[in-house]
Symmetry: D2
Subunit: 140 residues, 4 copies
Amino acid sequence: MNQPFITKEKIRFQHVDYAGIVFYPRFLEMLNCLVEDWFEEALDRPFSKMHTTNGIPTVDLKVQFKKAARLGEILTKKLWVKNIGGASLLCGFRFEDEQGNTCLEGEVTLVNVAFSEEKNAMKAAPFTEEMKTKILKYLV
Amino acid sequence: MNQPFITKEKIRFQHVDYAGIVFYPRFLEMLNCLVEDWFEEALDRPFSKMHTTNGIPTVDLKVQFKKAARLGEILTKKLWVKNIGGASLLCGFRFEDEQGNTCLEGEVTLVNVAFSEEKNAMKAAPFTEEMKTKILKYLV
Amino acid sequence: MNQPFITKEKIRFQHVDYAGIVFYPRFLEMLNCLVEDWFEEALDRPFSKMHTTNGIPTVDLKVQFKKAARLGEILTKKLWVKNIGGASLLCGFRFEDEQGNTCLEGEVTLVNVAFSEEKNAMKAAPFTEEMKTKILKYLV
Amino acid sequence: MNQPFITKEKIRFQHVDYAGIVFYPRFLEMLNCLVEDWFEEALDRPFSKMHTTNGIPTVDLKVQFKKAARLGEILTKKLWVKNIGGASLLCGFRFEDEQGNTCLEGEVTLVNVAFSEEKNAMKAAPFTEEMKTKILKYLV
């Protein structure tokens, strides 16, 4: 039975809005960090190496925000693979508070792309077999 | 025939990532600005007045990112109402570049809430009839 | 008598913190937008053209935050040149509220740089005479 | 001999700009996190408790940006006290890369304030003796 990739993130002053709860675009920054950590720690493909030639832009995103998160809370962020295509990846995710309540959950589609020389064009690039093998360890 | 609410926004240096395209959480900040402008300019309910006692948190979001947007581009942002409930609102949105191509589109569900005295609790609050009338002008 | 470069910016929901006032790193984003607008509108050097080969990183910043700014306020942002070196530029700036009160003021040093081919190195590049002439119109 | 307060922060995709280096307002977010951690971990005054009644707005900031920081680098952030007044605090700070090079350094003045009931006013509030004692442990 495969397991999701898991990290934690603390709600910071910079994340919250006037109402004292996380401003939702900040949650998407946290989601991007989750993907970034997964690529670096689990898939051996750190963004710092990858981003001169390749990228994994987000092409589709669905999120349900279920519970507000407040300053000082530590969220557990979970990511898993729902489906893998030639050059694309459908991931599920869920952020939970310290009591195990779901703050948000959803799914995100990422596409593996290669940049052309001038960095003004990009095209879908299939995952290598090695990469696919690593990704499939998170298929839940 | 009703029309969508429309504003424009220019892609700034702070919006783009290492690949020179808009980092997607910045698109969601632009979406939040679109909702903010709509509430202020079309619904006579500026966030600056509203946010001590009320809010309209986003509870559901679906976005398809279709075309990268680059530094200096001016996007046309469109918002319209797809459905209105007692205290909730389903809106469609689309961001287009100067050639009319869709950069992103999707739908967002907002809930009208009232904060309790200590701002540590919030509960759904039905829209007034006056508010509903204004909102319905954007039902497309 | 030279005049400063002037633009306006409205305080948005995304700019304010839990206390309902602008979170100060957002003021620096607004300052960066001011520099960006000045380069595009007054110096004919839009960031969208410049940033594949050149940049103007900030090397020194001094700011006094004098008055909190709140959601919905429209700030007037002023920028002027205090000194110009071979490849560097010392600018003064001030943000004022609608009553003319100073919210923040300070000075910022920018350096004109050229990126090397791999974008992993940058070195100071002197301003052209044409560029200097345009810049000097804002020497106050 | 007193020691500075020290934390680490990794440079994330969301921090870097088109040139692949940290966009400087993101450095100020990192500085705010450093102050936030110091208040929580060293001064027993977590922002999550403090911010309904009190705040510590930044009133003066001086920064020299000395070396660009890139995606994936882990910075060591140091903060220390240079001077303490009745309700204000002058702190020095320095961010260093993994080789010990200074990326940025400067000083920041914070003021301890109390919010009035409606959160629309704030006034300077002297530090308690207990708080002063804790702060003075970081006087370098």
